[in-house]
Symmetry: D2
Subunit: 369 residues, 4 copies
């Protein structure tokens, strides 16, 4: 089968090969899945560029990719699960957890300290076939288009980041309108948020946000470029939008110190910050901890992965109830062969999400029953 392999510890095209690999054999507790569609995640970009942040996790040669959907091809001998059959349309949680630790044994597997990620520590989904532990396979329904099925891992991040609060009637700021920020905006609007404020440093991203809002007749989107505008002016504008109170919730999607501090500045007294973005370096300086953390009495919540599996349940339920995120897929390719081109477009921010169909989109569609 064709697969995208991190072949050498080098940045760029030289370190990633699209080449023939043997089809994996599922272990006794694993399911083999024929990949219908796979998407690029920010982490894949780090792997592609051999970013220091992922060097400890990935040992070349390694097939990467961890956002995908597909069809069950084969069950390991003990991998049969009630209601699952060959040909079923599925995705998978690619965080594989120990099942034994305090976290795993109390419904908090998403923060298992021994998590292994398929697509990093084990072979992943940029391939015609991928094998995953049976317990991690998630059955999808016809309300999940293939292009959305391809990015459920990322959508799950957005759902996890938002599900810590009831958004109905709330004002929400999203710092960073990348793919997860964009999907968070869609979730907020779908969940009855009163106001969605988007900040980014790219006019292009902000324009995408505005076009999306217009397409939904959603009048309560406000988008600000926090690089080209004066911060104090933006704060004043947000203050006015929120009746002088500040936003109820900040969804921090950028990992930028400036954005984290900005979020703390604009959140209301007693507000909530859902922190998902990862900083380029390790450290973050909170400029006015006394005023913005203590005196404001805020809550900050670190968000990692997806709750197993309540985030998946909620995500599918939101999609079933009409949540639309297909628009974030802004580039598709009908073969893995074009991986370098797809990554280049992702790199240049030309597409929020890039999706590959290893055997072509039409062929994959035809397998959907």
């Amino acid at each position: 089968m064709k697969a995208v392999v991190k072949s050498a510890p080098i940045d760029g095209p030289a370190g990633t090969e699209v080449r023939d690999c043997p089809v994996p054999r599922p272990g006794p507790d694993e399911i083999l899945i024929r990949v219908a569609a796979a998407a690029i995640c920010g982490t894949d970009k780090h792997i592609y560029h051999w970013d220091p942040s992922i060097r400890d996790s990935v040992k070349p040669p390694r097939i990467y990719g961890h956002e995908f959907c597909g069809f069950i091809e084969e069950f390991g001998e003990r991998a049969h699960r009630e209601g699952f059959a060959a040909g079923d349309y599925v995705s998978a949680e690619m965080h594989v957890v120990c099942g034994e630790c305090v976290q795993c044994r109390s419904g908090n597997g998403h923060i298992c300290a021994r998590t292994k990620i398929y697509g990093l520590h084990e072979d992943g989904a940029y391939a015609e076939f991928v094998k995953v532990p049976a317990s991690n396979v998630i059955k999808l329904g016809p309300y999940v288009p293939l292009r959305v099925g391809a990015l459920l891992d990322a959508l799950g991040n957005a759902v996890h980041a938002t599900q810590i609060a009831d958004l109905a009637g709330k004002s929400v700021a999203i710092t960073g309108f990348g793919p997860i920020g964009a999907m968070a905006a869609a979730i907020a609007e779908h969940s009855g948020a009163s106001t969605v404020i988007v900040t980014d440093i790219s006019d292009n991203a902000l324009e995408t946000a505005r076009r999306w809002a217009a397409s939904r007749n959603f009048a309560n989107l406000h988008a600000f470029n926090v690089k080209t505008s004066d911060a104090a002016e933006v704060k004043k504008a947000i203050n006015a939008i929120t009746g002088g109170v500040g936003v109820d919730m900040v969804l921090e999607m950028s990992g930028s110190s400036a954005a984290i501090n900005f979020g703390l500045d604009i959140v209301r007294m007693g507000g909530l910050l859902s922190l998902l973005g990862l900083p380029a370096g390790h450290s973050v300086t909170i400029n006015d901890y006394t005023r913005n953390v203590i005196f404001k009495g805020v809550t900050l919540q670190g968000i990692i992965g997806r709750r197993m599996y309540s985030t998946w349940q909620r995500m599918l339920s939101l999609l079933r109830s009409g949540l639309d995120v297909e628009w974030v897929v802004q580039a598709t390719f009908d073969s893995l062969q074009e991986f370098h081109e797809g990554m280049a477009r992702f790199d240049r921010h030309e597409a929020l999400k890039v999706v590959f169909f290893p055997e072509g989109e039409k062929a994959a569609q035809a397998r959907l029953r």
Copy 2:
């Protein structure tokens, strides 16, 4: 001024008079409000019919009515509040609480044991003017149409009943599609609920539900007549709709024992019941307490009034974000003189909500700035 007075402890027209009364003088901590619009609540119906349930609370002669909006006419000497001025468009929380008890002093005034209700224990809003404690006055904005301003008390009940859970992606059953059930349905749809199941014993009510859903292109409404249908069949249908799991949340709006038991039957394991409806008698028998309460591990939450004032904050925020409930007003009258006719239509279930404009709707509109 003209006012609707419960003049004698008698059922029907003989016990209620529309007559001239002196304009009330606001006490030092009260605000006098010119009534723009006032709505009929189920409790008003009980007063009209001199129902045993309200006899202890109402001592004739008493001006009744506790759902209204209007314009500030006059402040008591100590009643000035920052940001409030004569002419402001306002409504009011008509539950007046002691401010001193454990509940009041911990942000739970809505369950103050010494609550006095204006419109029952004190004179109310079926009049040209009404006085209320300054602290209970709520400022409204142009996003609240007068007809909606007239029913905020009832909408607040619906908001309170729903705000105990995040509805996004949830399946919700509403037992009883009266005015509060209808508004709860609107809130659920607005908040991203995946499915809204309505049960009632009136085909007329169910038809209204279906028409509302159609008008919103909301495909996930299911309406069942639990009187004319076989209960087992309805359960089977709901089971199918919810993928065999049961509904996540029940909003019990009827007070009927049958509905409460039906709600316990259809809620999922670990589900939530928000209980607002009041039974005609005092007692309710839970038929299968062992299986439906204990073994299911459900949560039941009694709902009374509106949280002071977080429910009001949320309600206004929902309205600002586009929640539409104006459609529940199905009859309006341009004078209090027609009170008996309005009550008759409410009695005959010809209108979910009946609204009176003491000086006419046009005149009231003209005062809106």
Copy 3:
């Protein structure tokens, strides 16, 4: 091996035999445990008396008993778990859940609709050996005396019922001072509850409660006989104890309709009822639903089993921090042969808990390392 077998669908000694049975062979995912100590649960009493409530669950012949501790004897071929070795001191969660349903997949396995209970649906722990699924085995430490290890299932019920609220500084009423009520009292005192009110219909039980409190120098226990005292007087007394407010939380351990209504009467506005007791019949009538459920704005929470496995984690943590419940074991037997005598004493309420040591307490102690 010797085992206690429900041999025939008959009440009493004629339906239960202590007899020789083959030692069970663990399946591939099971662990075989040498039973050190096993306790009688109320459910075992129902099995013994062939109560209608359990007839659907138990098919004679069946070894019963589901509260126990012991030592790992043998692992099934795939049953090895990190950190577990032969000889380890363990107990087990005897609710075996499907692992596949919405509840199981979201950390709520305790309300899996397909729960099988070992000791009812499968053979249990009144035996020298018992096999259980590896995932359900819980490792114990030296801070768990054997007599307490024998009753962790029941202690887990008490922990589950109390863990839904932070008890520090709270007033708590426990309706029903059987074994679980007694352990709930111990948890409440250990967790800093300000007041523990116990109601029961047996002076003997209340005397036990008072003796326990005296032994701990716990001055804030109040015990009332709600059968021999005038209910209004008891309410008045509780009212005085709680400063006229009512109790913060009711732990309902009796299943009696009278107790449930009494709990609703004495709980404060906005209070919490944790409902664990099972009624003899199926139905429960709430006498004053309007006033005590709706107007009070209370929360009722059905409690079943133990959360898997956060209740176990918390239970062990409480024991490690000094929670003492060993005193509820009021009768022990050094052989299963005396099962009928033990059950008779349990039946006569002569002991809150009865514990059997199949090979004798001393021999079991000697195996503790």
Copy 4:
């Protein structure tokens, strides 16, 4: 009357005078209280030393002091409250809030952005008499010794910081064993915490912690000097104490960047940090935000003041149930005249809490009825 006055914007004795001042006259909504006992808070030290952090809040001349108890002397004309009478033993919440903002109107007055603090923005309690808004007065009972009544403001901080989690069976680390840390330790032990880990940079403070634990036979206290010990060694020790998992909750009482980072290092995956300490500068750098905030999925909660008034209710309830914090008062003075000496001892960390009795402790005791 005698009062301690910040007389000039200068550090030390030259800027604070004990001098005669007129007895304040209560406004119409205020109550005048005869001060029985008043304690030094860290903020008072900042005022004494004319720390930059408080210069904006305090305009000399100003009577300071905001932790106290006393007896009602006189009511303003509208200040009568049900159940309050002259001579009553009381304390007061000295944060005076606007009552009008979103926070105040939703039970979150403790984060009102317009808070005024009596003892900083208005005259305070280092005097024979102090006046406060009637609504802020809290009635005390005989279960509150005068020395504890004097420090309820600080105890309230500790209660607020701990009340965000149920501590029963939890492992808790307290970074900073000053007066609030010490009281937090007492609350944790009282509430059934399984383990209390204390870190500080003073051996003296740690010795106090150990002596306290010994006096209570509390075996699960562990105290570490994080200045003189190797950080890695301390982490290893804490890791061992918590079974390799990390602590459930960190109570950050120091405001030190090092302590905040240490807390993030030792908290378990998904753990909780309650942040109360104020940094000397404004900023705090989180060294490993990616690993310790995001990947750990932790929750950080800023804590300010006391919830109005649920923290007070809980605090009194804890004291009623036996919480003992009197031991933190390690120096007392029978006159305000000795204020400079008391502050000097507080400055030298010779006493966790210093309490002044303006008319002497005996005379104050005699007024307790």
